[in-house]
């Protein structure tokens, strides 16, 4: 008797599982998020000379930054934005976007099909992952985006040159990181998707990262006064600037 009961329960479980998975499986679609580095209105070119807000010329050697905690949100019924979002997809992965590595700029995700109203992510690495010992993948300290003497990740690394720089070799180096108050450089970006994105079997979102914004607002950078930021000094100033660096490229 007991034996039959068990068989019955097991069979029921298997059937339910098959039904659930057969419904869930086709619900996922491919989403590609591409980060495109720009300088103003043109695509960033490492050979070009650009000018900052104060008209000071500079060249970019390389730019790298972490993107993490990506969340796609759907708003609920009612006026948009008024009612708290009732559904979201959270991506627990860390991405290191490297100007010199094309592959790094494209993030491929599998997300449930649906209509999403906005997207948020953080520039940098959340405090938990700054305190959890050795990490692998994008967060492997071997990637050089890591401070050994003051444990933590460098969220954004800008290296360049400017004739106005007072540093050796006329270099510009802005290595921004720090997860502790009052020098917390984690910045959250929210991109409102103007027309809701319908993710179906294959969808792309193109994001523009304007490097000029690093030196633009709210605080314009004067290369002759500040050409190197490699610890907490002045770090939040640049973090406040890079918070406004990202926007959506509308098709």
């Amino acid at each position: 008797m007991n034996y039959f009961k068990r068989i019955l329960i097991t069979t029921a479980c298997v059937v339910v599982f098959i039904i659930v998975t057969s419904f869930a499986a086709p619900n996922n679609g491919k989403l590609t998020i591409r980060f495109n580095n720009y300088a103003g209105n043109s695509v960033l070119n490492l050979d070009s000379t650009y000018k900052n807000q104060l008209g000071q010329p500079f060249k970019v050697t390389n730019v790298k930054y972490y993107i993490s905690n990506i969340v796609l949100r759907k708003y609920g019924e009612g006026p948009r934005g008024v009612v708290p979002n009732y559904d979201y997809v959270s991506i627990k992965e860390y991405y290191l976007i490297n100007e010199m590595d094309e592959d790094s700029k494209q993030i491929n995700l599998n997300v449930p099909i649906g209509t999403y109203d906005d997207m948020t992510f953080i520039i940098g690495v959340d405090s938990l992952h700054n305190c959890s010992g050795i990490q692998e993948g994008a967060l492997d300290p071997i990637n050089g985006m890591f401070w050994a003497w003051n444990t933590g990740y460098i969220f954004l690394k800008f290296d360049g040159t400017s004739p106005l720089s007072k540093s050796n070799g006329r270099i510009l180096e802005y290595h921004i990181g720090g997860y502790r108050s009052p020098n917390n450089c984690i910045r959250k970006v929210t991109l409102r998707l103007n027309h809701s994105i319908q993710i179906n079997s294959s969808t792309s979102i193109n994001i523009k990262a304007d490097i000029l914004q690093l030196f633009k607002s709210p605080t314009p950078m004067d290369f002759s006064k500040l050409s190197s930021v490699v610890d907490f000094h002045n770090a939040t100033t640049i973090a406040d600037n890079y918070a406004g660096m990202f926007s959506l490229i509308e098709k």
Partner: protein, 522 residues
């Protein structure tokens, strides 16, 4: 006398020997000296210790992982030019501090800006470095490896070198059953080695567990310690892992603002980590910049009434009051924190010595007493090449001699070997020509066991000459002479505080009686 270098020798546990006429000596190295078994890597939380901060369940210690970590710790491959290993600065016999070195040394003879801290009980640390900049044991080694003044290497290049080294590839495979060498495996292996560095068997520990007794002075020292020092140096780890400004003036040469550089908080200016006092006897010099060479100097600092430091920790605001006897008692208590079990633990010994020791394995031969010294010196010099380019203290040499005679006695306790009494043997060794030569050599370069001992000798002579109690305000070692040291002291007569006089002394040390003699120089 401090047993500083003696363990290096004892490990060799080699030879035996001889006596005046001719006898046999039996070469001997325990085969399992460098081997590590499952039992060796079992982590036991010592009685009374809190739960470790480091999560050992995420990095299970295995014999193969520990062996790998130990090899990495002792291997210069971690540095840019393959010369500097972790052990270059973290010396086993000094509880992994850098004995007698004020500031850390790195690649190309570059000098850092802080004193090398001891490595012990690391799994209970919530942060690392004097400023607490590193927040996880696994990530700690990255700091010295990549520091341009220390090992000046990149993580990527270390991994590259390891991947090209067949021996390491094999060791990683043994430890992780995988030949791919990653940052994660590399650093966790070192953590496995570091995690077992537990010091919990000092005389103090045995006393608190009812297994040993303390002298009257030591007990009084403990009482005074608990009343005056334990607020920060909390038992049983002898640190509360906090950061404090203990009133030291900033050294303009380093301009080190301490924890401020980590947190960016003005309130953290000149704050440094409270270090553990375990094994403090062998971890001199003291403080974050190694400015004090003796424990007495440290206590004198804390009992100073008017500090020049700009900010001072609240618990130190009202000052600590101790008389000379009380200071002496506290120091004798602090010396009970020396953990010989830890300092002599064979598991932490340099595995690169294994091949060397094999080479000098001695077959039964006839040795003269001169040869004993020669063999002994040879071994020592070789060990020195691996640890420090400084010639060790004379006092240490004497201690090592004690050690070797003990070894002789131990190993010769075989039925067929007839040995003279140990004292007799020792006397013979000390009277031998080679021994005297060795003394002369080491004396030339040697250093006093401690400034305190030299100061004390001057004080005795001065109080006899002046027929009054003397207070020494400053001791300056001018130079080592052929048989001792020339020392310049500033002193004042007690009760007559205004007049400071100076006097120069020639101090000699008698190794046989282990006493100092001081002669005032005109």
């Amino acid at each position: 006398m401090k047993n500083l270098f003696s363990y290096q020798l004892s490990i060799n546990s080699y030879c035996l020997l001889l006596i005046s006429y001719c006898i046999l000596s039996i070469g001997f190295i325990a085969d399992d000296y460098f081997s590590i078994t499952q039992k060796d890597v079992a982590f036991k939380n010592p009685k009374g210790f809190p739960k470790p901060v480091y999560d050992l369940s995420k990095n299970k210690i295995t014999p193969a992982g520990f062996l790998l970590g130990r090899k990495l710790f002792y291997d210069g491959i971690l540095s840019k030019d393959n010369t500097i290993s972790c052990a270059s600065c973290h010396q086993r016999f000094a509880a992994f501090a850098h004995i007698d070195h004020q500031i850390s040394h790195g690649i190309n003879n570059l000098i850092g800006k802080r004193n090398v801290p001891a490595l012990q009980n690391l799994v209970w640390n919530s942060s690392f470095m004097w400023d607490g900049g590193v927040n996880h044991l696994d990530l700690q080694p990255v700091a010295p490896i990549t520091n341009s003044l220390e090992m000046a290497e990149t993580l990527a290049n270390v991994l590259k070198k390891l991947r090209q080294n067949k021996e390491y590839v094999l060791m990683f495979k043994q430890a992780y059953n995988d030949t791919v060498i990653t940052t994660d495996k590399f650093l966790k292996s070192i953590s496995q080695f570091l995690a077992l560095m537990v010091s919990a068997d000092s005389r103090y520990d045995r006393y608190t567990n009812g297994k040993d007794t303390l002298s009257k002075s030591e007990k009084n020292g403990l009482k005074l310690f608990r009343a005056n020092c334990a607020a920060c140096h909390k038992e049983p780890l002898f640190t509360d892992n906090s950061f404090r400004n203990n009133g030291l003036t900033i050294n303009p040469a380093f301009n080190d603002s301490g924890r401020l550089m980590i947190t960016g908080l003005k309130s953290d200016y000149l704050k440094f980590k409270v270090p553990s006092l375990r094994n403090v006897e062998v971890t001199y010099p003291y403080m974050h910049d190694g400015r004090f060479y003796s424990l007495k100097q440290v206590l004198n600092h804390y009992t100073k009434t008017n500090t020049e430091g700009e900010i001072r920790d609240p618990v130190l605001q009202k000052g600590i009051i101790l008389n000379e006897q009380e200071k002496t008692d506290i120091i004798s208590f602090l010396k009970t924190l020396t953990d010989k079990t830890f300092l002599h633990d064979r598991r932490f010994d340099n595995p690169f010595l294994a091949s060397y020791i094999k080479k000098i394995e001695i077959k039964p031969v006839v040795l003269s007493e001169d040869e004993l010294i020669v063999k002994y010196k040879t071994s020592w010099d070789s060990v020195q090449l691996k640890t420090s380019n400084r010639i060790p203290q004379y006092a240490t040499y004497i201690d090592e001699l004690d050690k070797i005679t003990e070894n002789i006695e131990k190993h010769c306790k075989q039925p067929k070997t007839k040995l003279p009494k140990l004292e007799k043997l020792q006397a013979q060794l000390q009277n031998s020509k080679k021994h005297k030569e060795a003394i002369a050599n080491y004396f030339t370069y040697g250093q006093p066991n401690s400034i305190t001992e030299l100061t004390e000798a001057c004080k005795q002579v001065l109080s006899i000459i002046n027929k009054a109690d003397i207070e020494i305000t400053n001791t300056d070692i001018k130079k080592p002479s052929k048989t001792g040291w020339v020392v310049l002291v500033s002193y004042k007569i007690k009760g007559n505080t205004d007049v400071i006089k100076t006097s120069s002394f020639e101090i000699n040390y008698n190794p046989a009686t282990k006493t100092y003699t001081a002669v005032q120089k005109k």
